[in-house]
């Protein structure tokens, strides 16, 4: 099969679209997490670390309890704790947010590596664990094409839909959302009107922790059903790119995530459709990262970051 043939075959199959959605899911969660943090004025490049820790904590609790929902809850709490550390030093101590987030990525990586063997008895990856269940919609399944895409999807898909709607409403239709957007743009103005700048920033960063953890958990216990130390393999940073491309808007971030997801899905499809030597497959793995660079290089300046993002707010 030639490249052109393979690409068209892929585009014609429902599997490609399903894979696109599935590859986009972690980026949707983490990217919207990034939106929550940055729109209140705190950059959070630690999404990568939070995803890793979230997935790991969920795996640990599923390993001990066998209940994926307990794992999900604890993973979210894990993300919350890590994000809290970032929030605390950024908000209370005017820390350099990029450096602090880098620290958290290392702490997450170290913690996971440190606990793998004591808990699972092996390094690198865990055994297969109980996954968050799939949701089957029988009548939908019978619809041709559409059914093959949406008929049976992980519960994470529905959680993601909920997150997108919830965050859009929160940010653009509620008083809290108005305050969040104001705090990220001009914290001093918000402060003089009695808006609790610190409180709102805590909320934004903590939300980013919960959401990024969900993204990390999807990869581990939604998709594969196993935690691997290498996860999420750069997806936390691609999520940041999706946030930028999506113009710091939850719905925009979703579309950007789908674009990155499509690149991933095409990569997977081409690898299976064409009989490629292993080294060419290794080369194809570059695609999503190259795309990210192109997008970040091409779209910055055309979208508008919250003006106070990354700037500590201090009175006086």
């Amino acid at each position: 099969m030639t490249w052109i043939q393979a690409i068209f075959t892929a585009l014609a199959s429902p599997l490609f679209y399903k894979l696109t959605i599935l590859s986009a899911l972690p980026l949707v969660f983490a990217g919207i997490g990034g939106v929550f943090s940055e729109i209140t004025g705190v950059t959070n490049i630690a999404l990568e670390g939070i995803m890793k820790l979230g997935g790991f904590v969920a795996a640990v609790f599923i390993f001990y309890t066998g209940n994926p929902w307990i794992g999900l809850l604890m993973g979210m709490i894990g993300g919350l704790v890590l994000a809290f550390l970032h929030a605390y030093v950024s908000i209370e101590w005017s820390a350099n947010q990029i450096v602090s987030a880098t620290a958290l990525i290392l702490i997450a990586q170290g913690t996971v590596g440190f606990l793998m063997k004591p808990i699972f008895g092996q390094e690198g990856q865990t055994d297969f664990l109980t996954k968050i269940p799939m949701i089957k919609i029988e009548p939908l399944k019978k619809v041709p094409f559409i059914g093959e895409i949406f008929g049976e999807l992980s519960a994470f898909f529905y959680i993601a839909i909920g997150v997108i709607i919830f965050s859009w409403f929160l940010l653009y239709k509620t008083p809290l959302g108005l305050r969040m957007r104001a705090v990220g743009e001009n914290p001093q103005a918000a402060d003089t009107l009695g808006v609790n700048v610190k409180g709102i920033r805590y909320f934004g960063v903590l939300m980013s922790g919960v959401l990024a953890a969900l993204g990390g958990m999807y990869i581990a216990i939604g998709d594969i059903g196993q935690f691997q130390e290498l996860m999420p393999a750069g997806k936390g940073f691609i999520a940041l790119a999706a946030m930028i491309l999506g113009n710091w808007n939850p719905v925009g971030t979703m579309w950007a995530a789908l674009l990155f997801g499509a690149a991933d899905a095409m990569n997977i499809q081409l690898q299976t459709l064409m009989e490629l030597p292993s080294e060419t497959k290794a080369l194809l793995n570059l695609l999503p990262f190259v795309l990210t660079i192109v997008v970040v290089g091409g779209f910055i300046g055309k979208t508008r970051a919250p003006a106070a993002s990354g700037v500590p707010y201090e009175k006086e």
Binding site: V89, F114, F237
Partner: protein
């Protein structure tokens, strides 16, 4: 006569030593608590670690070998910081340096070492500089944040290495790896300790630190880089081209990381394989921050981290996973980012000390 500002400068120099030193101590202490939490003895674990880092000639050789590339990646990140860029991509630049050095080094069999060695080193530096310049160019042209682009370039370099050692440059069976570079392009060891050797690369790395120090403090290039790092608007106003400086800074930073990769190939493995950079690029961030981005400080912090890394391998033997060092590094960086926490401690402690001493003086007078 010391002017007032010289006194404050001295005080800030003292602070820039005290803050990272305390950050390291506190982080090691938290590390000890974590070791306790998994039921191991931290004193024993740290003891083994010290022994692993300094306990024998072999340990020293291993330590210095690690320090060579760590010093260079630390310099790479530190130089970037001084000029206002956060080069989180030393890992990928080191990989590209190794790849370039390997490709050139393979083909220098008939060339005498006097020419082959500098050529291979140069190739490595060019490789790193080229890779970093991509991120620099994107930042200068479009404002793309270097943290995202350099991370992506890390992944691309990682996959590229895997491609090269499993495809065009593959050799032998087992782990995919490249062939060995020509003998004439390999750097001879400085000393040999039993099976281990102390690579002569360490001399080159320390020389690089001194060169970077001179570059930053004594030259117009350093003046301009620091000006852009402190206040790009003022630098631009003073006729300094920001975009040129960003690309140049990234190139120098990348060249240092590339040199680390080249030396790793020329002194240690003599070839490349998947992930041969083993996170040295990321360690460079910790090292730069502990060394307060001062090239001379970075020599010492590189030695500290190489000792921790070298020693942590031995900790495995007493049941403490070596990842504890990654956690400790994370905590160090965390405290350096939030340096105000530590500064507040220092100020509180010094006030406490002053009160106490004045009280004792009072007591003495009464008696």
């Amino acid at each position: 006569m010391a002017s007032k500002s010289e006194v404050t400068n001295m005080r800030s120099k003292w602070m820039s030593f005290l803050v990272p030193a305390l950050a390291v101590l506190v982080s090691l202490l938290i590390g000890a608590i974590i070791i306790l939490a998994i039921g191991q003895n931290p004193i024993k674990a740290y003891g083994v670690m010290l022994k692993g880092a300094f306990g024998s000639r072999v340990a020293w050789a291993d330590n210095i070998t690690k320090m060579t590339s760590l010093l260079l990646t630390g310099l790479a990140v530190g130089f970037g910081f001084r000029a206002g860029v956060f080069n989180i991509g030393a890992e990928g630049q080191m990989a590209m340096g190794g790849i370039f050095a390997m490709i050139i080094g393979l083909n220098l069999g008939n060339v005498p070492p006097v020419i082959a060695i500098p050529l291979t080193i140069l190739a490595g530096m060019l490789g790193g500089a080229f890779w970093a310049s991509i991120a620099g160019w994107l930042k200068a042209q479009t404002g793309a944040h270097e943290v995202i682009t350099t991370i992506m370039l890390n992944w691309i370099a990682y996959h590229l290495t895997n491609y090269l050692v499993s495809g065009p440059f593959t050799v032998g069976i087992g782990i995919p790896k490249s062939p060995e570079i020509a003998k004439s392009a390999q750097l001879p060891p400085l000393l040999t300790a039993q099976a281990s050797t102390v690579p002569s690369g360490i001399i080159i790395a320390i020389a690089a630190a001194i060169v970077i120090y001179i570059l930053l403090e004594k030259t117009t290039l350093g003046y301009e880089a620091k000006a852009v790092g402190f206040n790009p608007y003022a630098a631009e106003y003073g006729g300094i081209s920001i975009s040129k400086n960003i690309v140049l800074t990234m190139a120098i930073s990348g060249a240092l990381a590339g040199l680390a990769g080249a030396l790793e190939v020329m002194c240690v493995h003599h070839r490349i394989f998947g992930a041969f950079t083993s996170d040295r690029g990321f360690d460079g961030i910790t090292i730069a921050l502990i060394g307060q981005n001062n090239p001379i400080g970075i020599i010492f912090s590189a030695f500290l981290i190489s000792s921790l890394r070298a020693g942590s391998n031995s900790m495995q033997t007493v049941g403490v996973p070596d990842d504890i060092i990654v956690i400790v590094q994370g905590i160090i960086i965390f405290f350096v980012a939030a340096d105000r926490i530590i500064k507040t401690w220092i100020i509180k402690a010094s006030k406490l000390g002053k009160n106490k001493s004045s009280q004792t003086i009072k007591g003495g007078e009464e008696a």
